[in-house]
Amino acid sequence: MSTIKLTVNGKAVSAEVEDRTLLVHLLRENLNLTGTHVGCDTSQCGACVVHIDGRAVKSCTVLAGQAAGSSVTTIEGISKGDELHPMQAAFRDNHGLQCGYCTPGMIMSAIDIVQRHGGKLDEATVRQELEGNICRCTGYHNIVKSVLDAAGRMKVAQAAE
């Protein structure tokens, strides 16, 4: 057992976990942040994507101990109070989700995609970049639409800041 200290969604937290504990389990079991999901056991599906120090990472491939000292953002930490993150709003407005299970990972990956590509996103790039996130409901059509829509919204939001 080890005590892991890290920052999650802006708050300093610590948890006593077995050394083999994965970050996703620390988030779900110890911190009750159940928005981050587990959809597979081979790091393929991306339902567990969170941001570690600003980069999208599959939290099922990271030991909790590896995240010690870092700043983790989960789906629960991206809206500002009642104000949704532009990516969340875009998923809702474009019907980019159905059962909602892959959605947190999709949104966290998509934010990272937009941040990395800035204004240069097109459909083909979004589709290629979403390779690591599996959705069984939407056929990706509206997810791609959501990401492209959010890319525009995020640019506007950035310009306003």
Binding site: C40, Q88, Y101, T138
Partner: protein, 779 residues
């Protein structure tokens, strides 16, 4: 329509919790004293269990209990049932072998549970499961249909000689044979419908909770139909009587059919919670999902089409072997029979049809309904045959279809179904226009000059949804009625709760069903709450599958609404001193027509509950229920056209365009409908190009992870062009037909027709991987 009424693409009410990480799925639920279960599973496809030694596991840290198949038998927990009786052509019933929730004596597929370890943490349960020593005596296995039916094949169940469960027929054999004898042309195809794994993104999970003082059980489960789960768990599995069992299916992360069934793991979690005296949670991992979620499809078919000299179809003859896996899952028997062969007429006027379906046991995971359930297999047979016929007869595939379309309704097919309405020509026209069918030869020539093989493929599908008229399915062997129920509670302050027996696991009921209320009462959807998925709240329900929620569940809501409105009008008329016949409902108000007198819904509701001044003899309250049993199936239909290019150097397929023209009747929320079509198309295209469960000859599942089973990813799929044509369903007051399965039913034939058109070789099996396509091109 109002801004939130019928026909409005209202943004979904349920989305806020999902996009903020506040969904509540089974694995998110924690209970006081919760323990965790991990199953010990068979590594063999077929073996005798000689012994299960749990002594070492019992001593492991955190272990609360280890339970075995023998204890399931000793506790008289019932074997798993199959809820649809199929009669063979010789009049005998189906030959069903016993399926205990954990195997006491024999295992028949890799992954079958033998024992379960329950511990304080999931990791402790997993560790201790490693210490359970099971001694097996391996037996020879039959891993596919051919291996199961050949002489001398390993026998799975003593009840089913030769591994044949039933040999069932439909249609007129002699008349069909005569049609083939008289035919000017006969087209014949051997078809493999590949085996698929549903792979809802949320793995199955269950929490059993037993309250000793109350002798009451609660089961939280990933179910598409919690009331059916409760019924089966109590009536057949003897775990808890219905009035002492509450089943809750909270947010469920996709189903696609695979979460209809009551699986061993849910049974064991519930049963074990009483054994260990603590709540027991089991959450499957993806490998367990691959091994134990019911798979889909897996047919071997020989299909023949007879045509006269004018290219009119005169007969269809089909012989299908269906793989049901090692045990008969809950609705497995009905999928390759009444959900498959009854759709073999497709959109066509076919006077003579005869089909024989032989379902067999194999040492593989059980097979049951997966999105479309039988109808994709039927549509694939019909649409591959039509395309092949067009090529063989050297006529345009669209014209051959059009020539044979059913144009008069109602239309009785030779295989039970009575199509109520449709306009197949309109869908085909819309799809051809959208893809510029006429311009295809030019595009093909241009692609050729660039070294690419371009193809176009059509698929004109029909399905039977709105499942189902109870009397009809009862006469065909179904063990349940397939009506739906609804309850509408207008609260004293005028807010409305709609309790439905349907279950939403992605379909958006919380929005669509609210729109039905908004349309009728003119209230905002924020005033309406949809309640589903809890047997303690909802009176009863048959659940969600077979694109039935709106056509059957939605109609039940309308029927209950009619009763609510009738009573509310009486109350309003009494309050306004008017005749109830003069009361109209507009924008949430009850108005006396032709006057300025009105009373708002909350005041009517309050009057109903205060009961100070109700019409004489009226009961207080404003709450009504309805049970709705449909009179017929509904028949969504449409045309899909796929245009693609094949790189002859690599065999890789790239989409150019995929066009859909669907007739779902009236659309309540077009945005949600289109989302359903997108998802269905992705699964149909996945079947055509990517997906296939592969077993080796010993019965090991080679594709048991997302590393090995090719799920469609974003860059495997195109954006889709959707179109709608409309004939209103005459069978229900909403005029709706259902939209959940269409894409999965129609898409795969369009893709395979397009690839085989591109490469000029009709022999190509699904999934059409680059390797297979390359070999089909180059031999």
């Amino acid at each position: 329509m109002g801004v939130e009424g019928i026909g409005a693409s209202v943004v979904r009410k349920e989305d806020r919790r999902f996009i903020t990480g506040k969904g509540r799925y089974v694995d998110d639920i924690k209970l006081v004293g919760l323990t965790h279960a991990h199953f010990v599973r068979s590594p063999h496809a077929h073996a005798r269990v000689k012994g299960v030694d749990t002594s070492a596991a019992m001593k492991m840290p955190g272990v609360v209990g280890v339970l075995t198949g023998q204890q399931i038998v000793d506790d008289k927990v019932g074997n798993l049932i199959c809820g649809w009786a199929i009669t063979s052509k010789d009049g005998t019933g189906m030959k069903m072998g016993a399926w205990p929730a954990m195997a006491p004596e024999t295992v028949r597929f890799v992954g079958q549970a033998v024992a379960v370890v329950i511990a304080e943490t999931k990791n402790q349960a997993k560790d201790a499961a490693e210490a359970v020593v099971v001694t097996y005596e391996e037996l020879p296995a039959a891993a596919d249909i051919r291996a199961a039916i050949k002489p001398g094949a390993p026998q799975l169940h003593p009840e089913a000689p030769g591994n044949v469960i039933y040999d069932w027929t439909i249609g007129e054999e002699a008349a069909t044979d005569a049609a083939f004898k008289a035919a000017a042309n006969v087209v014949s195809l051997d078809i493999t419908n590949n085996r698929l794994v549903p792979n809802a993104m949320e793995p199955r999970a269950a929490i059993g909770e037993y309250n000793e003082a109350e002798e009451h059980f609660t089961l939280y489960t990933t179910s598409q139909n919690p009331h059916v789960a409760r019924l089966v768990l109590s009536a057949f599995y003897n775990i808890a009587p219905e009035h002492k069992l509450r089943v809750i299916a909270p947010d469920v992360g996709g189903g696609f059919g695979s979460k209809i069934f009551i699986y061993p793991e849910e049974m064991v979690a519930l049963w074990a919670s009483k054994k260990v005296g603590r709540p027991v949670k089991w959450t499957g991992d993806r490998s367990e999902a691959f091994l134990t979620d019911a798979h889909g499809r897996d047919h071997l078919t020989k299909a023949e089409l007879a045509l006269d000299a004018n290219n009119k179809i005169t007969g269809l003859r089909v012989k299908t072997y269906a793989n049901l896996g090692a045990y008969m899952s809950l609705f497995s028997s009905s999928v390759p029979t009444y959900l498959y062969a009854t759709l073999l007429s497709g959109q066509y006027n076919i006077p003579n049809i005869f089909a024989e379906v032989i379902s067999v046991y194999t040492n593989t995971t059980p097979v049951d309904a997966y999105r479309g359930a039988g109808r994709p297999e039927a549509s694939f047979v019909v649409e591959r045959l039509l395309e092949t016929a067009a090529r063989q007869l050297k006529v345009d595939p669209a014209e051959l279809r059009r020539k044979n379309f059913i144009t008069q309704f109602p239309h009785q097919t030779p295989v039970i179904m009575a199509y109520d309405i449709g306009d197949f020509g309109a869908s085909l026209d819309a799809a051809m226009k959208a893809i510029d069918y006429a311009g295809f030869p030019t595009r093909k020539a241009k692609a050729k000059s660039e070294g690419k093989l371009r193809g176009i493929g059509l698929s004109c599908y029909i399905e039977a949804c709105g499942i189902a008229p109870s009397k009809a399915v009862g006469s065909l062997g179904a063990g349940v009625g397939l009506w739906e129920s609804a309850e509408i509670r207008v609260n004293p302050v005028g807010t409305i709760e709609v309790l439905t027996g349907s279950h939403s696991h992605g379909q958006g009921h919380e929005t669509t069903f609210c729109q039905l209320i908004a349309e009728r009462l003119g209230v905002p959807i924020s005033q309406v709450q949809i309640v589903h998925g809890d047997t303690d709240k909802v009176q009863f329900g048959m659940g969600t599958y077979g694109s039935r929620s709106l056509a059957v569940g939605g109609t039940a809501i309308i029927k209950a609404m009619e009763k609510v409105e009738a009573k509310a009008k009486k109350i309003a008329a009494h309050a306004l001193e008017a005749s109830e016949n003069d009361i109209v409902i507009e924008n949430g108000e009850f108005k006396v027509t032709g006057t300025d007198k009105s009373i708002a819904l909350p005041m009517v509701a309050l009057a109903a509950y205060t009961a100070h001044n109700l019409p004489d003899g009226m009961e207080p309250g404003l709450k009504e229920t309805a049970f709705y049993d449909p009179t017929n199936f509904t028949f969504p239909a449409g045309a899909y056209i796929c245009e693609l290019e094949v790189d002859p150097g690599t065999g890789k397929t790239s989409f150019v365009n995929f066009v859909a023209a669907d007739d779902f009747g009236r659309l309540i929320n077009p945005m949600i409908v289109e989302g359903q079509v997108h998802g269905g198309l992705a699964q149909g295209i996945g079947q055509a190009l990517l997906e296939g469960a592969a077993y080796d000859s010993s019965g090991q599942l080679l594709t048991a992870s997302f590393m090995d089973y090719a799920m469609p990813r974003a860059d495997d799929l195109p954006s889709f062009q959707l179109n709608h044509t409309t004939t209103l369903c005459p069978g229900n007051p909403l005029g709706v037909k259902g939209c959940g399965e269409a894409g999965a039913i129609g898409a795969s034939a369009a893709v395979i027709n397009a690839i085989t058109d591109a490469i000029g070789n009709n022999k190509l099996e699904m999934p059409a991987t680059p390797d297979r396509v390359w070999h089909a091109i180059h031999g």
